[in-house]
Amino acid sequence: MKKIDKSVADAYFREKNRNMIIYFAIWFLVSFGAVMIAEPLSEISIGGFPFHYFMGAQGAVLTFIILLFVNAKVSDGIDKKYGIDEEKNVRLSEGKSLDH
């Protein structure tokens, strides 16, 4: 067990949170945002779809999937940067679960 400097621990938490806020902003725009301006969007057409319909049926879902994979990948990078070793995580979390 080694103590981590408070500033390092805080930086880890801040970096993760900043990314999360960005993802949620995009999430909000493509779903709630697109619904709120559905009427003007319906004037535009993309691949035969009225644009508001496209966003609801495909655009938003595709964005969500991409965001989740980006998050998984980027979070792995951040963990690595702070010297987190996944194998040790596995061993640690086996012990962490409460056994009944």
Partner: protein, 556 residues
Amino acid sequence: MDTQFLVSLSIILATFGLYIGIAVFNTAKQTSDFYVAGRGVPPIFNGMAIGADWMSAASFIGMAGTIMLLGYDGLAYIMGWTGGYLLLTFLLAPQLRKYGRYTVPEFIGDRFNSHTARVIAAITTIIISFTYSIGQLSGSGVVIGRLFEIDAKLGTMIGVVLIATYAAFGGMKGITWTQVAQYIILIIAYLIPVIFMSLQITSSPLPWLSYGELVGKMGELDRELGISEYFAPFTNGTKWQFLALMFTLMAGTAGLPHVIVRFYTVSTMKAARWSGAWALLFIGLLYLSAPAYAAFSRFILMTKVAGSKITELPAWTKTWVDTGKLQLADGNGDGVLQWKELIISNDIVVMATPEIANLGVFVIGLVAAGAMAAALSTAGGLMIAISSAFAHDIYYRVMKPNATEKTRLNVARISIVVATLFAGLIALDPPGAITQIVAWAFALASGTFFPALILGVWWKRSNAQGVIAGMLVGLGVTLAYIFAAKYGGFTILGIIDTGAGVFGASAAIIANIVVSLATPAPTQKIQEEVLDLRYPEQMVYKNGEVWMNDDGTKAL
């Protein structure tokens, strides 16, 4: 006994044989196997299992029909049921995995150090999963009803027996691998008819790209008929209802006990993030196809069925009229079936379309098998959630801490059978369409667990009194709004019963915060445990400092 019956039945029996084979091979022997599959399922497969668990009869059987009937307004289901995965995977799943408990009530009970909170959470789990399973049973009734050409009610009864037997003897481990198989069956069964219809109507093998022009074309047909255009926004409800429903489904996703428990079956926080991503990819395959399914079905019904002579309707119409879910009446007596004279239930669109489009006995049988896979896999997960809430959280943790493993497993199995029978009774006369019933379960989850879990994980000051107040207020407000909107005609901003979660969640968050602040803070130990959830497993928050566990041992 026609060919269709034999083909459908053999495909269903063959897939059942597969699931039961996998379940028997993995029969749960230990408690940890029964509830969380011994934690070690790789993310890709866990993603598929989450997909099967997630995509219920509502997604498979009900959703395309709902979109077909509601047009753009039905897309709230598509965005809501996928967007919730961001809330779940970013805000809850990894953190709950690090906390390391078996069930959601167990997390709430231990995090807030309160048996009262644990019992309320367990009862809430049972209410939510129970409501959800009514939708599944009513879905299996549609499939079985069509198969045997009997009333959907009788079909539901057969479904009850099947699901109770199936869930009671598998447990989570059997179920995890069974659900991987079920995912594969159900996604193939869903994609094949969509691709065939796309080839038939647009001669393109890629329905996702080809149905766009159809959506536009149907708008023209609608204008000629003098009804509102298929894609016109907010024709079936207000914009606020759309937003409220979408929020309810998203927040509910992040609060559904049977989905969250899936993230306990992975090894680490990292694996939880990847499981969430894979899950949404696999789920997205079906969700991106559902609006295409809806568009093709509607186009075929509008152009091929409507306008034909009443006396010359194809054979499929009779079998569906028999299930009580399709009505054809020559209202104006001109001998021709008009579009407006065709009343089709949301719940049969997916099942009936392959017959209408004449896709052949094999595809029709496959769709029936896929629908059964969807209903069974979700019902299995729901029954595990109900039985663990009762047998583990109430019976073992509160009532009989000395109960042996064997007794607990028996209690779990009995609770599954009892819950299925009760849900089946209600499903005999379902109080709404499948998607609607399932949306109530989501409203309840977003009014209770979503606020409790979010504040429990991210706000160390939230305490037992706060969470108890929050869950009770959220449950009360959500239930009251659902009943007031459905039976009393009471609405705010045009938000109907399915959007109730937005009120439940707001009330619960306010109650939780106000009561928490008005009562003493949780102990130092609990507050540190909450802060600890911000970091990966190797970083440990203790005594106001963060420590790096470099030797990887459990000596803490």
